[in-house]
């Protein structure tokens, strides 16, 4: 279980995350939704342990996030983070050195299915190829929590299908997947729960099938209700 308890992050002149309290359970794929600048990336970076909350706690299985939990959390940042000189093969080796839970055979399986040649240099990759590589290298870890920041950004339909399949393959009853996106519709069938972040505040957590069954609402409808003009926070 991953618990975000009253988590707040203040930067100079701006509160990026404001007292966010919610709980994520294993066995689910979560969409983390909100417009750009709402605090999604900041929250993910705090869970990963890259930045510290100004106040509040993040607990994984009742223990605070720290060095130990970093081994169990796989984070994929939005911005590209490979060195230009690296080939795809180098990226695999780099991850293998860094993470105990990284599987090189799984990585090779994923890149060959995504039709990425291991000889390619990262600086020559198209945005779609680069996005697929980032997902492949992250999902080749055997982590307890996967945090993917905008994995569907700037990629074509076919690449998107590859990315979705890889995410579904890695989902298990023991792990938690969190996918942030502003492409709400793309995630409708893949995620089963959605967390909304509005203006740095937690603005609701919904079970998608429940929403469809009891209210006849899609996740996109809920998004419009919360973020559309005149939308109120029901926190």
């Amino acid at each position: 279980m991953l618990e975000s308890i009253e988590v707040t992050k203040k930067f100079v002149g701006k509160t990026a995350v404001d007292s966010a309290t919610f709980t994520l359970e294993p066995g689910h794929i979560y969409a983390l939704l909100g417009p750009n600048g709402s605090g999604k990336t900041t929250w993910m970076k705090m869970v990963t342990g890259l930045i510290k909350p100004t106040s509040g706690y993040i607990m994984y299985d009742s223990k605070p996030i720290g060095i130990q939990s970093r081994k169990e959390i796989a984070y994929m940042a939005t911005e590209p983070y490979f060195y230009d000189w690296m080939t795809i093969k180098d990226v695999g080796k780099y991850y293998e050195d860094f993470f105990e839970d990284f599987s090189l055979s799984r990585f090779n399986e994923l890149i060959s299915r995504m039709e990425l040649s291991e000889k390619l240099k990262t600086k020559n990759l198209s945005s779609g190829m680069s996005a697929k590589l980032k997902v492949a290298v992250t999902m080749a870890r055997n982590a307890k929590i996967y945090l993917l920041d905008e994995p569907l950004n700037g990629i074509d339909l076919i690449a998107r299908d590859d990315v979705m399949k890889t995410m579904l393959e890695s989902a298990s009853p023991e792990n938690i997947l969190v996918i942030s996106s502003h492409l709400v519709e793309e995630l409708e069938s893949v995620v089963d729960r959605a967390i909304f972040i509005k203006d740095s505040h937690f603005a609701g957590l919904f079970d998608l099938e429940e929403l469809r069954q009891s209210e006849g609402m899609s996740i996109a409808d809920k998004y419009r209700e919360i973020f559309g003009h005149g939308g109120q926070i029901n926190a």
């Binding site: 066995g27 689910h28 794929i29 299908d161 979705m164 399949k165 579904l168 393959e169 989902a171 298990s172 519709e185 409708e188 069938s189 893949v190 995620v191 089963d192 998608l208 099938e209 469809r212 069954q213 006849g216 609402m217 899609s218 996740i219 996109a220 409808d221």
Partner: protein, 118 residues
Amino acid sequence: MQYDSKAPIYLQVVNAIKADIVNGTLKCGDKLPSGRDLAMQYTINPNTSARVYQELEAQGACFTKRGMGTYVTEDTEMIKKFKEEMAEEALSVFLRSMKELGITTDESIEMVRSHPKI
């Protein structure tokens, strides 16, 4: 598969699989994919695919052999019943749409008979 995102996805997949059983794409006693493979095949959440099998089993469309997997029902009467139910549903949707256009049932029947595709 394209989903209607306002309706439960598990029911849409249940209906797609039942249609495959009714039209013979899936045969009596055929083994169905594992929950994980079904999730991949239909690009759905693994919890949704678990629910698909629960629902198919509850309706009698498939059964589970312990430790072996899920199989299409061998009850041909049941499949016949599904066919009738699904045909009935398709027909009532059709008649309802025609009615909305102000076309009577008799007129609809005549239009179906004289349709070039028939």
